[in-house]
């Protein structure tokens, strides 16, 4: 390999200077991640959307529940987005401020996505690592269960659950949590199978570390790279599930809202020319999904360099 002149010079000075600072695998990954422009852009968007969800309500002149009586009745002319009236994103068909509603929806959608992914990370990783580590019959039974659950059209079952036990955000979390860990368990198991024959696991086993501790201390930390990548890609799909259910009117209930519910409301009002009701929530939905996909891809390239 031929070094460019600059690199060669850098190397010289580096060796003359103090000790070369060692770089951990994580530091390497970080450098690779920040070199990926799409991923960094995605992260910036995510941070902005997060700030919007966290602090937006403090700059909104209207609250999300307040009805602007001056607007009600002729929303299509009075409820337009304008700085003057304080409705930056316009109002919805009931005269509520869409800016505040979008903040509220963003909070709930992001929360559903993050909690779904968190459940998947915890349950899926431990489940998959356990199945993979013990192997044999335990593995067989545990993974058969996952196969059976994966073959069920979960969306219908989730809707069934929501109908029977009442439509609430909590039930939505439970339902989404129930299905989100399945793929994660499969991925974690596959990785565990390749890790468990490494020397350090054998060494731990030889000095008498109990299986539970081996899984927790030696296997799971080594799964983290893959798990993080997959979790990042899981968040947008959780958001899509939730929005799907809310779009049908079966998810988050009034006065709470989410992107799916807002898009659904906007889509219903479309023929009256009040397009902002559709486009603002849609914009946030689309850019956030984009950002998550880019960050996920960037993390995959950063943490798994052999895949490039």
């Amino acid at each position: 390999m031929i070094l460019s002149r600059k690199t060669a010079k850098d190397l010289e000075t580096a060796q003359i200077g103090a000790e070369i600072e060692g770089r951990s695998l994580w530091a390497d990954a970080r450098i690779r991640f920040f070199r990926n422009r799409a991923a960094v852009g995605g992260m910036v968007i995510l941070i902005l959307v997060g700030l919007f969800a966290a602090f937006g309500q403090y700059i909104a002149p209207w609250s999300n529940e307040e009805v602007d009586w001056a607007v009600l009745g002729n929303v299509d002319t009075m409820g337009r987005p304008s700085i003057a009236s304080g409705h930056y994103f316009g109002t919805d068909e009931l005269g509520r401020d869409l800016f505040a509603r979008t903040i509220q929806g963003t909070q709930i959608s992001l929360m559903v996505g993050l909690i779904g992914a968190l459940i998947a990370v915890f349950v899926g990783t431990i489940y998959g690592a356990t199945a993979g580590y013990y192997g044999g019959r335990v593995d067989n039974v545990m993974m058969r269960i996952v196969d059976v659950l994966l073959a069920i059209p979960y969306m219908f079952v989730l809707i069934l659950l929501l109908v029977v036990f009442g439509r609430s955000v909590l039930m939505l979390f439970v339902g989404i949590g129930l299905i989100s860990w399945l793929d994660m368990a499969r991925i974690a198991r596959g990785q565990t199978l390749s890790i468990k024959n490494k020397e350090f696991v054998e060494a731990a086993h030889a000095i008498g570390v109990r299986p539970g501790t081996i899984i927790r201390r030696h296997i799971v930390p080594n799964l983290l790279g893959v798990v993080i990548v997959y979790a990042t890609l899981l968040v947008p799909s959780m958001i899509i599930y939730e929005s799907f259910i809310s779009f049908l009117g079966l998810g988050v209930q009034e006065p709470a809202t989410s992107w799916g519910a807002l898009i659904s409301e906007g889509a219903k009002q479309m023929q009256y020319g009040t397009l902002w009701m559709l486009l603002f929530p849609l914009f946030f939905f689309v850019i956030t999904l984009f950002a998550f996909f880019f960050v996920g891809d960037g993390l995959r390239d950063a943490l798994d360099p052999k895949d490039r």
Binding site: V148, F156, L248, G249, G266, Q271, F290
Partner: protein
């Protein structure tokens, strides 16, 4: 091969039974019966109604009857909401519609997705590649419930080319928008999958060998590269089918196509349990059958699979 199919069936049948029992138990655990209305009925009427629908018997008997009727007679029982219709009537009414646009969406997603992916891989790093990748990334963040309003906005409200909803016995102008809405995000996934696996295959040694011995590129691609490259795509078809069935709910709601999804959501909102269960079980059975078929096809085309 036969033993593989048998083994797969041995998993598929219990899965289906679990689904049936599970949904029956959820339905049974539901607070409030189907006949709890705003005006309370006299107890005698209630008892008669319960007796007519067999709801006065113990759980295990009810469940057995239900499973027996579903499996042997393919009878999902009466609807609690629409007094003059059985669940079978509702399915017979809605299912052909769902099947029609579902089939076309599947075809469009697979054909367009694969063509995009293959083109992108062959012309790797050219503008065609970037275009295909751009389309598939864009389509990925446009799930059916986002596509549907956008399509209506553009083609109905702005351009006025297509009707915004309805079915009319399945005339083509009523099918186009449901098909596009349903197939977009799967087309994207299929294109991405095809592209990456095709790239991998095209860099393999045996492709170089085929080229070196003087075969024309077209022949190499269609005879040598395509089959191994499509394996991951085939295994994606199972999940794609599930998602497409699920997505049909949105299409039915938004385009008023009168498919099975409308009945599903309406009965979900009205707590018409027998319809929800019937549809859940039917789609579950279809999913499991389809996955089975995909697995068998996969085992058949992939010589590396041991069964």
């Amino acid at each position: 091969m036969l033993s593989y199919i048998t083994r797969r069936l041995a998993i598929a049948i219990p899965t289906l039974l679990i689904l049936v029992v599970f949904s029956y138990l959820i339905m049974y655990a539901a607070p409030g019966g189907p006949f709890d209305m705003e005006r309370t009925l006299p107890p005698e009427v209630m008892a008669n109604l319960n007796a007519k629908y067999g709801l006065d018997q113990p759980l295990i008997v009810q469940m057995w009857n239900y499973v027996y009727n579903v499996v042997v007679h393919f009878d999902f029982g009466p609807s609690f909401m629409y007094k003059d219709q059985t669940v079978n009537d509702i399915i017979a009414q809605g299912f052909p519609v769902t099947l029609t646009y579902g089939f076309w969406s599947f075809v469009v997603a697979v054909v367009v997705g694969m063509s995009l992916g293959i083109t992108a891989a062959i012309y790797h790093n050219s503008w065609l590649d970037y275009l295909a990748v751009g389309i598939s990334i864009g389509a990925q963040v446009l799930p059916n419930f986002v596509m549907a309003p956008i399509l209506v906005l553009v083609f109905t409200l702005w351009l006025g080319w297509l009707p915004g909803g309805g079915w009319q016995g399945g005339q083509w102008e009523y099918i186009i928008m449901p098909v596009i809405a349903l197939s977009t995000s799967f087309m994207a996934s299929i294109a991405r999958l095809t592209r990456s696996s095709m790239l991998e295959v095209l860099n393999a040694n045996y492709i170089r060998t085929a080229r070196a011995k003087g075969l024309p590129m077209r022949r190499v691609i269609f005879r040598h590269a395509l089959k191994p490259a499509l394996l991951p795509v085939v295994s994606y078809l199972g999940p794609a089918f599930v998602a497409m069935i699920t997505g049909s709910v949105v299409v039915d709601m938004y385009f008023s196509t009168g498919g099975i999804g409308v009945f599903f959501v309406n009965s979900a909102l009205n707590r018409d349990y027998s319809v929800i269960m019937g549809i859940t079980i039917l789609t579950g059975a279809l999913t499991i059958l389809f996955n089975l078929a995909v697995d068998i096809i996969y085992a058949w085309i992939d010589p590396k699979i041991r069964y």
